[in-house]
């Protein structure tokens, strides 16, 4: 049993490493066709620094107290003004945050980039015959 078990373990691990490396190469493949500005990348760090994800989601991934913010920037009557207002004064469980002007600018760039990356609205998806979902 042990001998066979070792082989199976080894084969699965090799497949896992190949899969892992293919994912690690993605930024390399993607960077060629999309120029990323420094603000967007730093904006993600601002998002992390203030732990927005403990209450908010991007693409449905994150905390469950506040709304998903993936497409905040393009939502009617929301976008930048609402973001600034919420950060300045908070509401319900959301505390006010003290962001520097630069941090605010970077956060806005990041959320704009998130918005441009696609839609997180589940109503925009349809399932195909395999049961997999695709954007309309």
């Amino acid at each position: 049993m042990k001998f066979k078990a070792r082989h199976t373990f080894f084969i699965l691990s090799v497949l896992f490493l190949i899969y892992t490396i293919s994912i690690y190469l993605e930024p390399y493949n993607l960077n060629n066709n999309s120029a990323k500005t420094k603000n967007i990348i730093n904006g993600k760090l601002v998002w992390q620094k203030y732990n927005c994800q403990s209450c908010h989601q991007l693409y449905g991934l994150g905390g469950y107290l506040g709304p998903d913010l993936t497409n905040l920037m393009s939502q009617q009557n929301k976008g930048e003004p609402l973001l600034k207002a919420m950060i300045k004064s908070g509401n319900k469980q959301m505390p006010a945050f003290n962001l520097s002007d630069l941090e605010m600018e970077e956060l806005i760039s990041f959320l704009k980039a998130a918005d441009n990356s696609g839609s997180a609205d589940p109503r925009k998806f349809r399932s195909n015959s395999f049961g997999m979902i695709e954007k309309e």
Binding site: N51, S54, G131
Partner: protein
């Protein structure tokens, strides 16, 4: 201090139980903010309570798993490991725990879903884990034919270190240059990390079954090995089911979906085993630790059934980002991981308590209070989730805050059931920790 005299496995278990109690307190405080938005808002607030709760709960599971593996090596395999290395490992964990708690209280966050902290504190954990690997591998090279639970422990321990390190790739600008890939790797990590401690704990459950039934059968048969490899396969490849709506590469989503569907095999096996195990249940029912293994079995059934359905993208679309995901996460950590750990704690910390197989009314009451509270807890989260799911798919949405208000009754039930969990876990922990100093001192095998 003579380290050779300290039972390190039990030291880890006792520390884990304390983390469980701490985690429950943070959890109940965090849950309160659902009902009273301003509760503790100006001091710690949900922003710190949530990671405090998550980290404490995971310390319970990871330190508990470590304690089980050390105890397992010692008592069944009759193999010694270096107590010095194990003790340094424990000290490093204590340093990390203090540091992590301190950083939450001072609002320094990792800010990533969902086990996150200031990355500095990942260092002592990583070093502790490397020491664990050294200690563990020295011991198991002496074992000729590995039973399946040793394979599971090896898998859990090795993959934990790999995925835990992977969790910090974002510190390199290359990996965070594209946020969709960054999130993909993050959920690859989350999926596999959970898989790793599950391997450590399922291995422990196998090991306990062998020990309780006094046979060496459970850990050696081919079916057990087949199931182990299916579990490993899922640990490696099924995590794509977390990110169906994320605009990442198509193949990741299809692999996640296809691999998740192989879990129906586990499900079928549980049902198939059901009849055969009735005899076993009757024979061992009066044995308290066994009750928890049995409870874990039933929670595996419920949670796995749900998880497989959620892995179907067309269904996932409705449940993604709702409290159904929370129900699943809590249902598995409490119902499966914690039940196995409690069984193990009784077995290792209180080996004499059930020698004459007495049936304590008090302990039975606590057992059922725990199961009932968890069931209500789980149901209330699921209903809240279903309601949010319907909301997020409806064309004429009321506002987010109005929708959240309609969920209040379920959050009230959730908090009450949370209290039930708190009370029953405390009662169990007091029983386990009473006179536990004895169990920290090594007696002969």
């Amino acid at each position: 201090m003579n380290l050779n005299k300290i039972n390190i496995g039990n030291l880890f278990l006792v520390t884990a139980i304390i983390m469980l109690l701490v985690g429950l307190c943070f959890g109940i405080l965090a849950a309160f903010t659902y009902l009273y938005p301003n509760f503790l808002k100006e001091n710690i607030g949900f922003i710190s309570l949530r990671p405090l709760h998550v980290s404490s709960a995971l310390f319970w599971i990871i330190l508990g798993g470590t304690g089980c593996v050390y105890n397992g090596i010692r008592s069944i395999l009759k193999i010694e490991f270096s107590p010095q290395i194990a003790f340094i490992q424990w000290c490093l964990w204590i340093v990390a725990i203090i540091g992590i708690f301190y950083s939450y209280f001072t609002h320094q966050f990792g800010g990533r879903e969902y086990w996150e902290f200031n990355p500095v504190w990942a260092l002592p954990i990583a070093v502790a884990w490397i020491l664990f690997i050294i200690n563990f591998s020295k011991a198991i090279t002496n074992v000729k034919k590995w039973p399946v639970y040793v394979w599971m422990w090896v898998t859990g321990i090795v993959f934990f270190l790999f995925t835990f390190s992977e969790n910090y790739l974002w510190l390199f600008p290359y990996f965070r240059s594209h946020f969709v890939t960054d999130m993909t790797i993050q959920w690859k990590v989350n999926g596999s990390l959970v898989g790793s401690w599950n391997q450590m704990l399922y291995g422990t459950a196998f090991f306990l079954m062998d020990r309780i039934s006094n046979s060496k059968q459970v850990g050696k048969n081919n079916l057990a090995f087949a199931m182990y490899f299916l579990g490993l396969f899922n640990l490696m490849f099924n995590w794509g089911h977390h990110i169906y709506t994320l605009p990442t590469e198509k193949y990741i989503r299809y692999i996640g979906y296809a691999v998740s569907m192989t879990e129906w095999v586990f499900f079928a096996k549980i049902i198939y085993n059901w009849k055969g195990s009735l005899n076993e249940i009757q024979k061992n029912y009066h044995y308290y630790p066994y009750k928890f293994i049995m409870a874990a079995d039933i929670w595996v059934f419920i949670n796995m059934g749900q998880a497989i359905l959620l892995s179907i993208p067309a269904i996932n679309l409705y449940t993604h980002g709702t409290h159904i995901t929370v129900a699943h996460a809590m249902g598995t950590t409490i119902g499966i991981n914690s039940m196995i750990l409690i069984a193990a704690c009784f077995e290792f910390l209180k080996p004499n308590l059930f020698k004459n197989k007495t049936n304590s009314k008090y302990l039975n009451f606590i057992f059922w209070l725990l199961q009932l509270s968890l069931f209500i807890f789980w149901i209330s989260l699921n209903i809240a989730g279903i309601k949010k799911g319907i909301w997020q798919m409806s064309e004429n949405q009321i506002s987010y805050s109005k929708m959240m208000e309609t969920l209040t009754p379920y959050f009230i039930i959730f908090v009450i059931a949370g209290f039930g969990l708190l009370i029953s876990f405390f009662a169990i922990a007091i029983k386990l920790l009473k006179n536990s100093t004895n169990s920290l001192i090594i007696n002969k095998f």
